[in-house]
Symmetry: C2
Subunit: 400 residues, 2 copies
């Protein structure tokens, strides 16, 4: 028998099967109502428009979309995205934008370009599990900072950064999901955003702004993207997965030109380029001005789902000390906190038996400890399923 | 001004703009005949079949192809590929195969999973530039071994491995492109293949077999894939880029189950999954048994192009001591060696002025030294362009 362990890189030794992956397997079992994955609602995919675009592109007879493409991305798509970002208050040059093969690749590039083993990166606590996975692959040290209703606690963040600097372990970046955070649904307030920027400037740090849900706001005014508050210190990741469809694996990253240039080199070494065919289809979708309408459709549907999930949580959940959940103004997720003495990881088996699934909060804790929380997704399930699923979940909680 | 250098990872400090990328820019200039990039012939892309498949998939109404997919790949595509490999003499279980977002991603995964900074990986000299780029991103140390007409010199390889072990720097892997190597066009002989396996077994090493061109054999019998000679020590990378089209960015990796499992974890952290839409289209292309015919079409066209390039090289090139080129039995490339005192990198400017482009051999040297070689691609240019381009190239060489 060959000892494969000896061949692994130092980084690979820490790569473990993701709990999320294991848990997602349950979502496919018959009869399960899944609040687990971060799947968008499939009935909203603009299949007819995409089909038409593909046929038009094919009829044109160009073969460029089947060939290799530029590492920085398909030019017409990059141009469309510069315009799109401008409408969002982010004014960037073309050279500040690279198309990535999913925003997850953006997180991998952050790891590859910035994180040496042991480097410290500040994150929320909880934070996005995909970021934990990506940064783990580079043996980075994540330092998680608690959130409250206004997002990451910047006072605590500054204190921790000071401590780390005093210990000669100055962090390199602050990683945040500022809008309708995955997993909590919480949005960082304007004051906190300004504080984040001040802290980055004062302590000479970068900020990685991961914003897959930004466009999916159900009510209220959007807060400014961090990159619009300081264009020299912020790298922003966006994706088409939630506002169009995930099956094309396309996103984009913007930031200071030197950092984007370095990221393009790393990207080229990683997969040469994002799929040109997919990029051409999406570029045409933007050119035909279909994206805004698509986003409106998604917002209307998800708002209704969120409203229903909140109403059903209020209706079915038992009165228990400490049992609470967030009220997100957008995005795909809300965050449920169980009473301190309850364990969402342990309870998961019961839930699956009752045919309802969630993601255990532990998976989103950079230290993997906190056990009395769970993430609930409201985008994927139908309205009927949300009603029934919350009922089942409430029964599971009641029964313990 | 912000000092961005301070933020880079140790690995990123070594990431330089690729010469290939710079050179490929010339291929787009008007009037240039390009023997540079590794682009397949665009007129052979099966656009009609792909269009039909997409329309059929869309008409079916399933939305799964637009959703997130499994990290290990789309099951029907994996199943088709297990069958495809079986026909090639490689008998594997489903769990030994993962779909990758281009075989370049496979090289990145090799780096991520196996290579810690300073780890030694044995390669050919020359070797594929994309592998150099990928392994550089992990600060690996490449040790290049000269090739002759039978491929990598295994006697020299063994000697170097012994030296490295004696110096307590035991290599982890041997990286080879066994079939119609990029850049040289050389195929490793059966004896050498057996030697490679013996060496891997004797010194307890892994082999990475990168085989994008294997199916594109113009004449003669194929040598067995390395993975068929030892399934426990070989990871093999394949791609659809050369046998179907590059614009979908899809390949596959096969190997021992524990290594594939680890690679799937790393892949998930890198981009969640390869694009399900693209995978579904390609799965259907295989299911409809269109791939074999497509490969035959490509072989016929490239054979004609290779024949013409060889004929024109013989016709136009001056008689100079040391000037020679390889005669590949397949693939996309041949390798031209200039007289010792000539410098292909320096000559490149002249060539572009004469409106012909190649890739300088230096880019394929793991140590970046050797300067009197160049890679010529014969798949992309038309027959007329091959004639004219070789004539121009001969003039450039004559004029020096």
């Amino acid at each position: 028998m060959i000892d494969y362990e000896q061949f692994y890189s130092a980084n690979a030794k820490g790569m473990k099967e993701s709990e999320l992956k294991e848990l997602l397997k349950f979502t496919n079992k018959p009869g399960i109502i899944s609040f687990a994955g971060g799947y968008p609602a499939p009935d909203l995919f603009p299949v007819a428009e995409i089909t038409e675009i593909i046929n038009d592109l094919m009829a044109k007879g160009g073969t460029g979309i089947f060939q290799y493409g530029a590492a920085e991305g398909y030019l017409p798509l990059r141009e469309e995205l510069v315009k799109f970002m401008k409408k969002q208050g982010v004014d960037i040059a073309l050279e500040q934008l690279v198309i990535i093969t999913s925003s997850q690749q953006g997180l991998d590039l952050v790891g590859k370009v910035f994180l040496s083993p042991g480097d410290v990166i500040m994150t929320g606590k909880p934070t996005y599990i995909g970021a934990i996975m990506a940064f783990n692959c580079y043996s980075a040290q994540m330092c998680g900072i608690e959130l409250d209703d206004d997002g990451i606690d910047t006072a605590l963040l500054e204190k921790e950064i000071k401590n780390l600097i005093a210990a000669k372990r100055k962090p390199k970046c602050i990683y945040v999901v500022p809008d309708f955070q995955n997993p909590s649904g919480i949005t960082i307030s304007l004051d906190r955003r300004k504080e984040l920027i001040r802290i980055a400037e004062e302590y000479d740090l970068l900020i990685v702004e991961d914003s897959p849900y930004r466009q999916l706001r159900f009510e209220g005014e959007p807060e400014p993207p961090l990159v619009s508050l300081n264009s020299e210190r912020v790298l922003s990741l966006y994706t088409f997965s939630k506002i169009l469809l995930p099956g094309f694996r396309l996103g984009w990253m913007i930031g200071p030109e030197p950092l984007i240039r370095k990221s393009v080199i790393a990207k080229m070494a990683g997969d040469i380029c994002a799929p040109p065919f997919n990029q051409a289809v999406v570029a045409e979708f933007l050119k035909r001005e279909l994206l805004e309408g698509q986003i409106e459709k998604i917002i209307a549907a998800y708002r209704e789902k969120r409203d229903l999930m909140l109403a059903k949580l209020a209706e079915y959940m038992p009165e228990r000390e400490g049992l609470k959940w967030t009220h997100p103004n957008g995005g795909l997720f809300l965050w449920l906190t169980l009473p301190e003495n309850m364990d969402a990881t342990e309870m998961f088996r019961d839930a699956v038996e009752k045919k309802v699934a969630y993601v255990v909060g532990q998976a989103f804790d950079p230290e993997g400890k906190k056990r009395n929380t769970m993430r609930l997704n409201f985008s994927f399930a139908s309205l009927e399923q949300i009603d029934e699923g919350v009922k089942r979940l409430a029964q599971v909680i009641k029964s313990r």
